[in-house]
Structures are given as structure tokens and as C-alpha cells.
Amino acid sequence: MAVLSNHPVNRDQAKVMNRYDITKRLVGLLHADEAVIGGIGYTNFDLWAASESASGRRQQNFYMLGSMGLAVPIAMGVAIAQPRRKVFALEGDGSVLMQLGSLSTVAARKQTNLCVVIMDNGAYQITGGQKTATGEGADIVGIARASGLEQSAWAADEDAFVELVARSLKEDGPWLIGCRIDTAKPVDTTERDPARIRDNFMKGLGVRA
């Protein structure tokens, strides 16, 4: 993808950003009731925090409570069911490493309305900061490209992240955006009420009244 050539070629060249800050920027770009699936851990907590506003909490978010690694598959299921809606999966590096096969499934199906955002701090942060393989040389964007996701790129910095998200909203995917993030604590903690999470999400998607 020549059009993505101005982005860093590898993880080492990408700026380390703040998870809450870029999640807030992502949510701020969503104006068409796009669906967002929050993986587990701090990625999930900061999606919850970033989705609160004066007009209430955005409804088109799904918050996993376990089932580590399934943000991409769940997002793909939503994307298959609702092909005219853009769907985002927010996933951590440890989580995506657990389900790398899902990247090749997304690529093989050419799921055009799907964008995967990887929050990569090289650590299983919520369990004590143990290292993941991404801090030891595994490059998620490289893995994604080799899995067939050609439109995969590292966000060089916050402006580049916003540019990539904006493109994913306008143009067909599947997309994968790699984000290097810091180890800051999340801003809030997601409410853990599965019935309410699911019901809100289905209402947000227009499946339930």
C-alpha cells in the first residue's frame, strides 16, 4: 500500500501515546453509530471512560468480560450481520497474540467494514506488567500484513492515528491500526453487568427497541 508508506515501517519507529487520549480521539471521530468492541483489560476500561459525555454514555459499545482474544471475532460477527455499519475492535497486544488466526480470517473474508485497533504496550499490564512478545520483536502490523491485511499501519503519532481512523471510516477495509501506548492507569473501570452491556449494545445497533 503505497498510500500508507508515510507511516512508520515498524513498531520501534512509532511514538508511544496515551491509551485514554487516543481512545478519546477515536470516539470523537464516530458520528454514524459505529460499533466498537472493547477487548479485556485496560483497553476496555478506557473505552468505557472515553465514551462518557454530557449526553450520556455511547450505546454502540460492547465490553467483554473475559474471553481474552475475542474482540476481533466479535467485531467481525457484528460486521457480517450489519454490513453497512463500520465496526471497530479495540484489542491489546497480549490479547491479539492469543488469537492471531482471527486476523487471517478477517483478511480471507475481506471484511470491508471492519477496523482493528491494537493498543500495544508490550506488556500484560493488568496482571502486573509481564512482558509480551511484542516487546521482544514481534510486530503486530507486520503479522497483520503477512496475514493478508494489506491496509495495516503503525500510527506514527496522535495526528497520524486520527488520519488513519478517518480513512477507515471513509474507505473500505479491512483496516488494522497499530498504536504504541504507555503504561498509564486507565481513567475508570467498566461496569460489569453483562445483561445490561448486551442489551444496551443491541439497542444501540437497532436490533432491539
Binding site: A35, I37, F62, M64, L65, G66, S67, G69, L70, V72, P73, I74, A75, M76, G77, V78, A79, I80, A81, Q82, R85, Q99, G101, S102, S104, T105, A108, R109, P194, A195, I197, R198, F201, M202, L205, G206, V207
Partner: protein, 172 residues
């Protein structure tokens, strides 16, 4: 008129608007997968892992599309965590169909051992389970259980016994 077990499955799935089929392949399921893939009513594809397929189906349900996951016994053994953390607590009617290995002439000890974990896991999670052994009962079991799964928003598992499918037979 459906005459084989897999024709009956196709017919009942269509009746209940179960249009998404994810699977990890299995030899016994081959005629069912072939029949589904030949029918434009269905969206069907193989996944890399059973839990990936379950996640896709869960997302599709929340997006308004009904689905089924096809797998064999050893694949089911990879699912307890996602059943307990996604399907059951979120009340998602995950429909599963398992081709039963490990019994009635199994030749692979790995299959016969892992098969023994399946029913205890389903029981531990109180998941409605039917072992399908007879052609004349197949339509009734599938039809009624799909009604129940979607009405009660609860997972259901259909175990396809070798008594129904013929199973996989030993060959040197």
C-alpha cells in the same frame, strides 16, 4: 423431502433463519458443510479455532443474525472459557453442533479421552444438550431446541452420535 441427517439439519436451520454457519472442519460433517456451502441462503466459512468461531457468532447475534457453530469433539474441548465468560453470562443463544468422536469404534486414544470432558462441561454450565442418535427424531429435536434457544436466550448443543451419522470408521 429431506432424507439424510444433514438434509434435515439444512432444512430446519433455514426454517429458523439460522443463516450464518462457522465451522472447524470434520470428516463426518463434510456432507453437511457441502450442502450448506452449496445453498446461497447461508453465509458459511471455516475459522482457525472454535472459540474464534463462537466469538463471530456471538457478534452476529448481537447484530441481528442467527448462527450455528459446527465442530468435532476435540474442538468443543477448547470452548469452556468462552462459554462461561461470553455465551452464558451475556445470555447469547450460541447454537453448537458437535460431531461425536471418541466413542463407538474410536481408534485414536486422544479423541476417546477428550470426548469424556464434553458432557461434564455442558452439564457444569447447565447448557441444554441433545445427543442425536435417530433419523426419525432429528427434525423434532432440532426444531424444538432452536425455538427454545432463541426464546430463552440460552446456548444449546447438538451432539451427532455415530448412531446417526455412521461416524468415522477405523481404516489402516
Amino acid at each position: 423431502m429431506a432424507e439424510t441427517w444433514y438434509e434435515i439439519v439444512v432444512e430446519v436451520l433455514k426454517r429458523h433463519n439460522v443463516s450464518l454457519v462457522t465451522y472447524v472442519p470434520d470428516n463426518v460433517l463434510r456432507p453437511l458443510v457441502a450442502a450448506i456451502e452449496a445453498d446461497p441462503f447461508f453465509t458459511a466459512f471455516a475459522c482457525t479455532r472454535e472459540e474464534e468461531a463462537l466469538g463471530i457468532n456471538a457478534g452476529a447475534y448481537m447484530g441481528g443474525v442467527r448462527s450455528i457453530l459446527l465442530m468435532q469433539t476435540s474442538g468443543f474441548a477448547t470452548l469452556p472459557n468462552v462459554l462461561a465468560s461470553l455465551s452464558v453470562p451475556f445470555s447469547i443463544p450460541t447454537v453448537m453442533m458437535v460431531s461425536e468422536r471418541g466413542t463407538l469404534g474410536e481408534f485414536n486414544i486422544g479423541q476417546s479421552l477428550v470426548a469424556r470432558t464434553m458432557r461434564p462441561v455442558l452439564d457444569a454450565l447447565s447448557i441444554e444438550t441433545h445427543t442425536m442418535t435417530r433419523l426419525d427424531e432429528a427434525e423434532f429435536i432440532l426444531d424444538r431446541s432452536l425455538v427454545q434457544a432463541f426464546a430463552t436466550m440460552a446456548p444449546v448443543c447438538f451432539i451427532l452420535s455415530p448412531l446417526l451419522t455412521g461416524g468415522k470408521v477405523f481404516s489402516k
